[in-house]
């Protein structure tokens, strides 16, 4: 009986040691992934790197005054509205060119999930049911809605592209959009 207890104890201690070793290994590997703390968070799919100096692919669904589409769409598509302006300024800050795509929210969010789009705008609010399919930004504007309740406006980005999400959020929070 004593012997067995002794074994359990050593086993437990060994499990502890193994756990610690594994954690240290993971932490070290993680440390080698980045050059500096400024690289945290990083994008698993490298969205921000790709957009910088390249193209920002934005899905837009009409929801005036936030987003509006011209009659007959036109080619290239030139939407208008407050969120459209914000996105264009954001792209400029990244030295990127915006490529617009129009569609319904469902289509656009689907494209966002597959990685065909980088941002979706369309007067989305923090109460959007899409929250489990897209990473919504922090609210950047709060306006009174139709029934007097606060509407917190957000944009949608791909799930888990955290460097890109943080870049967009920082940009939006720095703008004085107000309500």
């Amino acid at each position: 009986m004593r012997g067995r207890d002794h074994d359990t104890l050593t086993l437990r201690r060994r499990t502890h040691l193994a756990a610690i070793a594994a954690l240290v290994a993971v932490a070290l590997t993680a440390g080698c992934q980045v050059d500096s703390l400024a690289d945290i968070p990083a994008d698993p799919r490298g969205t921000l790197d790709r957009v910088e100096g390249g193209f920002l692919r934005v899905g837009v669904s009409p929801n005036p005054p936030w987003t509006d589409l011209p009659e007959g769409l036109g080619d290239p598509l030139r939407p208008s509205g407050r969120e459209v302006e914000l996105v264009e300024d954001f792209a400029e800050s990244l030295d990127a060119e915006v490529v617009w795509a129009a569609g319904s929210e469902e289509e656009l969010l689907g494209d966002l999930e597959t990685g065909a789009l980088d941002v979706v705008v369309g007067g989305l609010t923090a109460r959007s049911p899409w929250a489990s399919h897209a990473a919504l930004t922090r609210p950047y504007a709060s306006v009174p809605g139709e029934k007097g309740e606060e509407e917190l406006h957000v944009m949608a980005t791909p799930m888990g592209e955290n460097a890109f999400l943080v870049a967009l959020e920082r940009f939006l929070l720095a703008q004085d959009v107000g309500g």
Binding site: M1, D5, T8, H16, A19, L23, V26, A27, A30, Q33, V34, D39, I40, P41, A42, D43, P44, A135, L136, T137, R138, T157, P158, M159, G160, E161, N162, A163, L165, V166, E169, R170, L173
Partner: protein, 352 residues
Amino acid sequence: MSDVGQQGGRQDGRREPTRFGHTELPREQEEALRRAVRLAWVTIGFLVTAVVAVYVTMGSSQAMKAAWAEDLLSFIPPISFLVALHLTRKPPSPRHPYGHHRSIGVGHLVAGTSLVIMGTFLVWDSGSGLLKAEHPPIGVMEVGGHVVWSGWLMIAALAYTAVPPVLLGRAKMPLAEKLHDRVLYADADMNKADWMTAVGGIVGIVGVGVGWWWADAAAALFISGSILRDGVGNVRTAVTALMDARATTVDGKEVHPLVGRVDALLRGLPWVAEAGSRVRDEGHVFHVEGFVVPIGAPPSLEELAQARDALVALDWKVQDAVVVPCAELPDELLPGVGDEREDAPARGHDAG
């Protein structure tokens, strides 16, 4: 905290002993109990701050969700310790002739069951997140006008929850042994391992930070696995105790040394030829049924009373004891008795 003063210090002017039911606590145990109650309240106070800190920084991290659930569950052991303590003080009554000591076992079982349920749910939740390759989004938060990546705040919150439980667990462990309190033991044991959840969570968030989407769910799986394991261990010990298994040490690993001492004491009586006993753990205290075969003539009532007094004098845990004289040891009441108690090789049936 008012409870401490009430329970510990109330009788300070004219000291009346603290009791578990009818069992008077020796001074050492009384002191340990007072400290244990204080530590339970400190734990609850700390957990309130930990739950708030983890909740406000949680965001959509699966690992934070699991860590938060664990902090919430950690309320159960100290609370059931305090509740059980309150009940166990009640003296036996006609309705409860054995006293209320079993409340410890009930509290233990409740705590264990909730850990199992929550652990299972979280293992499923984070496991499916991992299989579906869900990428956790972690954005920014505004703290005092500064925009900070929420991951840093999560790491800070987890780091805050890492150290105090370990200290609390270390402080509680010797008290649990002194008081023979299984709920307190389970609580201390969980507290002591708590830093691993915090560190696991931190590694998960750092992993997400460097771009490993799976790190968060993997950390969550690790945390929920530890919750589930705690739960299974606790349910097993609690059920064993409630099933009236032979009394064991508070960690449930060894036969309690008192079991052997009870037998030895009875066998050592000058008028006793043979003796055996059943000892069960009621929670804190033991119930002892001793069977003795007298040499020649039946023992006098006085001799029997002395035998009982000697048993009670063995240890504060032995209070509820009976000594039954019989012509021969009743096999049906003492299954396999004698074989395994004195370190003889255990017979198969309950060697585990």
